[in-house]
């Protein structure tokens, strides 16, 4: 991504936060603004929403008034980087979706194997050793030592 792409991304991200601020104003308006002698439940969230909208507007103004960016001035990000992020996140979503069905060990183990073996293209030995070693360590630490009731699959772990 070049510098101008980064600037536009930054502006879009700020707009999302501004929209969140506007949403907070609307939701806070439904709560009591003032009770007998003191601010009510909606007072602070309302003004925080207002502050967010104003600051995001100021940020956008500042960003548009700044000198135009030179599209060639920034080194491009690793081309495979964005694909890697998508794979990591999709893998995480799949891992969480499976967690209660197949249990912590299988779900997290498969996710680790996917990341190391598929996304990072490491050797089979590395993939197996790190995946199995990590889930075994986490299972012992959290389940056995700290007594955390991790979700279990039909096979009891």
């Amino acid at each position: 991504m070049n510098a101008s792409g980064t600037v536009w991304g930054e502006r879009c991200f700020a707009v999302v936060i501004g929209l969140f601020g506007a949403f907070w104003i609307i939701q806070a308006s439904k709560l009591p603004y003032w009770s007998d002698f003191a601010p009510g439940s909606g007072f602070l969230p309302f003004w925080l929403g207002v502050a967010l909208v104003i600051m995001v507007a100021a940020f956008l103004l500042q960003s548009f008034r700044a000198a135009p960016v030179d599209a060639q001035s920034e080194a491009p990000v690793d081309a495979g980087g964005r694909g890697r992020i998508v794979q990591i996140m999709l893998g995480l979503i799949a891992c969480l979706a499976l967690l209660e069905w197949v249990g912590f060990v299988v779900s997290v183990g498969l996710y680790l194997a996917f990341l190391i073996g598929w996304v990072e293209r490491r050797t089979l030995v590395e993939t197996a050793a790190v995946s199995l070693g990590t889930v075994a360590f986490l299972w012992l630490l959290f389940k056995k030592w700290l007594g955390v009731p991790f979700p279990e699959g039909p096979w009891g772990f």
Binding site: F13, L31, M55, R82, I88, V130
Partner: protein
């Protein structure tokens, strides 16, 4: 005298196998974290938080403090051996440290850095011991208006950490807004829960800390596809000789003083401290032309400064409940999670806790000195661990940690969602520290604001009319407006 008595009590409590072990674990993890590029002390503490949930507050804080200052030692290794600073605070060390390594003097660079860090860490702890209780005593006189002003100062100061003030303030306000989710602390009304039972307790600090500093950080680093570094094993002795000591003793002391005072300032931290220490050292040197070409003083000064700053940053955190850096913001959240109230009352109500942690910092610095020199070769091997192997393990630890906190799938989904948000924050340079601080301090902020407005019949005037609150407000304005004024001045000069 009173301080020494408290410290003696701290040492008495510390010398149990459990606390000493946590101190050792903390400094070891800190060193490893400092060596591994791509994971910093804030991420390490965030990921380890769930393990300490419901545990011993003293042991856990001893460990977290050890991770914080241990990472400053570890960051030196990568700076000197591969010119990749494990921490931003080690950037200045890499300039001359790496040159020394190229000249076959890596051992000397690492040795003097370790000695300087030890002296700075120890003297910094003496400063913490003297300054924090005195500051806390003054702050005990604070009422709602002062607390309200103090939180605003903390958010304003931390907003400067990321570089853009406006982005930092947006993040601080967002953190405060997210913290209003849950049950109203004063009247018990549900707010912004959208009919979801799990939101009644609000969004847990731990979930956001892991999401931003664990998942978000991993995504941002993974995008860049980090490779393991190639390093040169030190060939000379790591033990500095008398000539090295004579050459660097004043650099270490100057670095310590500069680092400590910069560390105490809210919003400034170890990174700025190391930059200033380097600049000052070059200025006072009779041979500034050696700087950048392997000058040993240029390694000693910034390394001493970053360690002293890490200790100095704990002064406002303990005494006022205001963190000066990312890591102390996370530590502050951890203290609240343990049921403690960081701030002036901490020294009164939890004296044993504070003084044991302070005592542990003396022991931790000594442990680091003893471990650092003989284990240089071993820690250097860690540089070969590729990030491709490291980040999946961090993600698995994040999943296990978030789930363990409340055994809830909802928290895991929240962490995944905020992790993506954290990635964009990192990508577009919106600092997570003010957001986390806003989330942590919101209950105190809202309670203080509502109490103050009740007492003043709905007016916000006490923030400026009460002497102490007014002074804090003025300081906040100075902190926030100073960089703006500086920018305008520089622009007008051009």
């Amino acid at each position: 005298m009173e301080t020494l008595a408290h410290l003696a009590q701290g040492f008495t409590l510390l010398v149990t196998p459990k606390y000493l072990m946590f101190c050792l674990i903390g400094v070891l993890i800190g060193q490893v974290i400092g060596v591994l590029p791509g994971i910093g002390p804030s991420a390490a503490i965030a990921v380890l938080l769930p393990l300490t949930f419901g545990g011993d507050a003293i042991a856990s804080t001893i460990m977290f403090a050890g991770i914080y200052y241990g990472a400053q030692y570890g960051g030196t290794l990568t700076s000197v051996l591969v010119r990749i600073p494990g921490e931003s605070s080690s950037v200045m060390t890499s300039l001359d440290g790496y040159e020394m390594a190229r000249q076959g003097r890596a051992g000397k660079a690492l040795g003097i850095a370790a000695v300087g860090s030890f002296i700075a860490g120890t003297l910094g702890t003496v400063g913490l011991m003297l300054a924090a209780p005195a500051l806390a005593k003054v702050a005990l006189l604070f009422g709602p208006a002062e607390y309200f002003a103090l939180v605003i100062m903390g958010l304003g100061a931390l907003a400067l950490v990321g570089g853009s003030l406006l982005k930092g303030l947006i993040m601080g306000a967002l953190g405060l807004a997210l913290a209003t989710i849950g049950t109203d602390p004063q009247v018990g009304n549900p707010r912004f829960t959208f009919g979801q039972l799990f939101l009644l307790d609000g969004i847990e600090f731990l979930v956001l800390a892991v999401a931003f500093f664990g998942i978000g950080e991993v995504l941002a680093q993974a995008e860049q596809g980090m490779a393991a570094g190639e390093f040169a094993r030190p060939r000379d002795s790591v033990y500095p000789n008398w000539a090295d000591w004579l050459q660097t003793r004043w650099s270490i002391l100057r670095g310590t003083v500069i680092g400590y005072f910069i560390g105490v300032l809210p919003g400034a931290g170890a990174t700025i401290a190391s930059f200033v220490a380097y600049a000052v050292e070059k200025k006072v040197s009779k041979t500034p032309e050696r700087f950048g070409k392997g000058a040993i003083e240029a390694v000693a000064a910034p390394e001493s400064a970053n360690n002293a700053a890490a200790t100095g940053a704990m002064v406002p955190m303990f005494a006022l409940g205001i963190p000066g850096s990312n890591t102390t913001a996370i530590m502050l959240g951890a203290l609240i999670m343990f049921g403690l109230r960081p701030g002036p009352a901490l020294f009164e109500q939890n004296a044993a806790f504070v003084w044991t942690v302070i005592a542990s910092m003396y022991v931790g610095n000594l442990l680091l000195l003893l471990l650092n020199l003989p284990l240089v070769g071993l820690f250097a091997v860690l540089l070969r661990v590729p990030y491709a192997i490291l980040y999946p393990v961090i993600l698995a630890l994040c999943i296990a940690g978030v789930y363990s906190q409340s055994n809830s799938m909802s928290d895991l989904w929240l962490a995944a969602g905020f992790g993506i948000f954290g990635y964009f924050m990192r990508k577009y340079d919106f600092s997570a520290a003010p957001l986390v601080l806003g989330l942590v301090l919101e209950p105190m902020f809202e309670n203080a604001m509502r109490q103050m407005m009740t007492l003043s019949h709905g007016s916000l005037a006490p923030v400026v009319t009460r002497p102490v609150a007014g002074t804090i407000t003025l300081l906040t304005l100075a902190i926030v407006l100073w960089p703006i004024a500086q920018r305008i001045y520089l622009r007008s000069k051009r």
